[in-house]
């Protein structure tokens, strides 16, 4: 695949892609975990890293290496749900608003603006408190998705607005093409890079927000995620007691995840800029 | 009179592109011989993608990758001395530029700084090129220059985007003429302008030429503009010059079949007889036909045209052409 080969020349892409792959594999390892991460006292407590427990164990008697693999997997799942569902809201909204214009546009953009100006964090805190009992990976992902589409809808809409003024839009109208096909056939190829780049952005935003909410103890703390791992480490005073492996593992994993997602998104969006893309199709 | 001021010898300038690791060579300027004289307006005509803009870049010595000078020379005749441009260091070139030769690229926006008022652009330009001028003096000079060329003085207070396309183009050309260069090169200065505005631009070019008695090299695909302003015209096809003569001769008795098509395809007022375009499409400069590049479109094509490239010969006095149909002027036949 040429696209991948070209991207591979970019060092940022090379590094971030490798790290992400390693993290994904690590998350996948959780399926082969010898322990259930929700059960306490499976292993001896507070052991530093050793050949038996690669990243040590924590005060609840859980093996950190295997717990973290679950955490990575779950954080990924939350991020993916948030990212994909929010794209499923943002793209149709943006296309409808941008292409139809007029009243539709104003209503859609009023809604998205409302989502942008409300104090997101406070609302999230309230909502998580309300649904805390039934909170799982999916509900958290959905909750984040509801707040993660508005800005991207605006970005995509402005792209559609400019596409609408291009002559090929008129050719398509004269060819009898309806709204839906116009959006799918004519515009989607142009906004795909944008959708993809914003997807990655929203994923890292969701991971970050999950960590924040978890540290505040607002999510379901039985499910191991990067956030809840930090929460437990903090609440057992891991730093104070010198159990550095407990705290550092989720923190370093989060940092790796953030930076690699950020680099991935910036290198891809730079590369997939429609202008350079057209040049390549034309070459 | 009629001394050469700029000439080329076997000039070859190609774009060398790397696409997916595969090398592509665009033969934009392919063995061009030019001999441009002092005090004339020289027009270069041809279809889009025939290499005429690239030729101008080579003449103005603004060759930047992926464009490469493959072989041949561009020669400036500066104060009775001949200079091979490729041997000059960048400092000498910088001094020659604007002072000896100025180049107005296509799309005048790129010359004018979009975030500066025109008077600032002019002042900066004057101060950096004429030593010992104060800002006041520079401003007076700029105003005077603008007024002399018949442009409204209030444009000096505008930003480039506030001006109409035609005004911007004229201001850019005026800037190029500021240091009274011996040569002004203008790339498609009238393209995308309305006819009345176009006329204004041509008027300005003619005014400048008359005032400075210098040389203007004008590239446009609009034969009407050439007829109106050029003293001599060179016709370019697929990276080569195929014909060159005075405007009267090019329009009156063109020899090359391509030129004939080009002239005959132009609609004329008061004549509704059917006119034909040049058949086919211009060839790709990446993959040129063998022999004469025009042979696939030529109605008079012969066997030799398909295999051998015709030489660029002097067919009549002051009339050069590259076509197997035309023989060299041996006995001085009248044109």
């Amino acid at each position: 695949m040429n696209l991948f080969k070209d991207l591979w020349r970019d060092n940022r892409f090379k590094i971030s892609f490798t790290i992400l792959c390693i993290l994904l594999v690590y998350g996948g390892l959780s399926f082969f975990s010898p322990y259930d991460p929700t059960l306490w006292h499976e292993v001896p407590r507070d052991l530093p890293p050793s050949s038996e427990h690669l990243l040590g164990t924590e005060s609840r008697g859980i093996d950190i290496f295997w717990e973290a693999s679950f955490a990575v997997r779950n954080s990924f799942i939350i991020a993916l749900i948030a990212g994909i569902i929010s794209r499923m809201i943002a793209v149709p909204v943006a296309m409808l608003a941008g292409y139809k214009g007029g009243m539709t546009d104003r209503v859609m953009m009023f809604i998205s603006d409302s989502f942008l100006v409300i104090p997101l964090f406070l609302i999230l805190v309230m909502l998580t408190l309300l649904v805390r009992e039934s909170m799982n990976l999916v509900t958290l992902g959905l909750l984040l998705a509801i707040f993660g589409w508005a800005w991207d809808a605006r970005v995509i809409r402005s792209e559609i607005l400019s596409l609408r003024e291009r002559e090929f839009t008129r050719t398509a109208i004269l060819s009898g093409t309806g709204t839906l096909r116009m959006a799918m056939n004519e515009y989607l190829p142009f906004v795909m890079p944008l959708v993809f780049a914003t997807l990655i952005n929203v994923m890292s935003w969701a991971i970050g927000l999950e960590i924040t909410l978890a540290i505040l103890g607002l999510t379901n703390l039985d499910i191991p995620t990067l956030g809840t791992m930090i929460f437990w480490a903090l609440s057992y005073q891991a730093a104070l007691l010198g159990y550095w492996w407990w705290l550092l593992t989720p923190v370093i994993l989060s940092i790796l995840l953030f930076t690699s997602l950020y680099w991935l998104s910036s290198s891809i969006s730079e590369y997939l800029d429609p202008r350079s893309r057209i040049q390549r199709v034309g070459a | 009179m009629n001394d050469t001021i700029l000439s080329t010898e076997g000039l070859k300038a190609f774009y060398v592109l790397e696409v997916y690791g595969e090398q592509k060579v665009v033969k934009a300027v392919n063995e061009v011989e030019l001999d441009i004289r002092e005090n004339e307006i020289y027009g270069i005509a041809g279809e889009s993608g025939c290499g005429k803009s690239t030729l101008l870049k080579a003449l103005a010595a603004v060759i930047e990758p992926p464009l490469r000078l493959i072989s041949g020379k561009v020669i400036y005749h500066v104060d009775d001395k001949t200079v091979d441009v490729s041997t000059l260091d960048s400092e000498t070139l910088r001094r020659l530029r604007w002072d000896f030769i100025s180049y107005v690229p296509q799309g005048s926006m790129s010359v004018l700084n979009p975030v500066k008022r025109l008077k600032d652009t002019y002042q900066d330009f004057i101060i950096s090129h004429l030593e010992g001028k104060s800002r006041e003096e520079a401003f007076t000079l700029a105003r005077q220059h603008i007024a002399e060329l018949g442009l409204p003085p209030q444009v000096m207070d505008s930003y480039p985007h506030q001006l109409s396309g035609g005004m911007r183009q004229r201001v850019t050309i005026a800037l190029a003429a500021l240091l009274e260069p011996n040569i002004i090169i203008a790339d498609e200065p009238t393209t995308a302008l309305d006819v009345v505005v176009q006329r204004g631009v041509v008027q300005l070019l003619r005014d400048i030429q008359q005032k400075l008695n210098n040389t203007i090299i004008l590239v446009t695909h609009d034969m009407g503009v050439h007829a109106n302003v050029a003293d001599r015209i060179g016709i370019m096809y697929a990276g080569k010059m195929v014909e060159e003569a005075s405007s009267e001769v090019i329009f009156g008795e063109p020899l090359h079949p391509y030129t004939q098509y080009l002239i005959n395809s132009l609609p004329v007022f008061g004549d509704k007889s059917p006119r034909e375009s040049v058949p086919g499409s211009p060839p790709s400069l990446i993959d040129l036909p063998t022999g004469c590049a025009f042979h696939p479109r030529c109605p008079y094509v012969m066997d030799i045209c398909k295999t051998k490239t015709p030489d660029y010969i002097t067919a009549r006095p002051n009339h050069k052409v590259a076509c197997w149909l035309i023989e060299e002027d041996g006995d001085g036949k009248s044109a």
Binding site: R166, E167, F168, R170, T171, A172, I173, L174, S175, G176, T177, G178, N185, E186, P189, I278, V281, G282 | E47, S48, P152, S164, G166, M167, D194, V195, V196, V197, Q198, R199, G200, Q203, H221, D222, M223, G224, V225, A227, N228, V229, A230, S247, E248, F251, Y261, L262, S265, L266, P267, V268, F269, G270, K272, P274, R275, E276, S277, V278, S281, P282
Partner: protein, 324 residues
Amino acid sequence: MEKVLNVEHLSKVYSIGSITSRVRITAVDDISFTIRPGEIFALAGESGCGKTTTAKMVLGFEKPTAGTIEHKGQVSGENDKVWLTEGVQAIFQDPFGTFNPLRTVDRYFFETVQNYNLADNKEGAIELIDQKLRSVGLTYKEFAGKYPSEFSGGQLQRISIARALLTDPTLLIADEPVSMVDASLRMSIVNLFNKLRTELGMSVLYITHDLATAYYVCDRIAIMFRGNIVEMGSVEEVLMHPKHPYTQLLRESIPEADPARRWVGRVNLNETEEEEYLRKGCKFAGRCPVAMDVCKQKPPADIAVGDVLVKCYQFAEDMVPEHA
């Protein structure tokens, strides 16, 4: 008389600027014209004269502020879908912008065939497409599966015409179809209009700034200036014996391909478009060599001079009572 297109008192007003300093620009100012079957009609003028806005309104891409556009008894805006399928098609200025650069060109053809039910199956569609392509000098084989960038501008413009022909329109609207095509290839497009007219009886609304090709191919012409039609009549009359001072200036400013007939005299360019649009009287009064006092106060009416309509006070005096 039968009319393919009947435009009456069409106006379009745009408000520009901020809320505090709003300026209303009448881009199209009460224009009327008709196109007859098998006629090539030119709407000519410089950029910003309103000709493209008129085309957009005729195609239904813009809503008129006032006036009606009628095609075969159908009034525009009443039923958008019918309006277009009934046989008005269009081609545009930029051949490279006409088709999406990320899609193959043939997709537009198949979509047109499918959306208007022009063929029963794929074979039928290909046959129809091939037939239309052949009428513009191309074939299905040399075009299938290619992206716009693989064609030259002239080819794309012909492909664009072929696509428009799929629905067998009675009126083709061509918005500056040759301005971005090489002069050497323009005739191949313009000649096509003539061919379509003689072979299919199609009418063409040819919108252009190029008076020379308009003269060559059109029957009648309307010259627009700042939203008004200032002169309208047969190309022979309007372009060979222009009456309105603006038509005269325009006609004179066209560079003729003859070094013996170079421009003499100078042009005055120092008025801005906005100034002219906001002028109360005749919009050309600021540049007109024969402007009178009345020109600056009240816009002139259309005055019939022979078969030509002219918007100029020069012809007003004793003509008004008879014709107006």
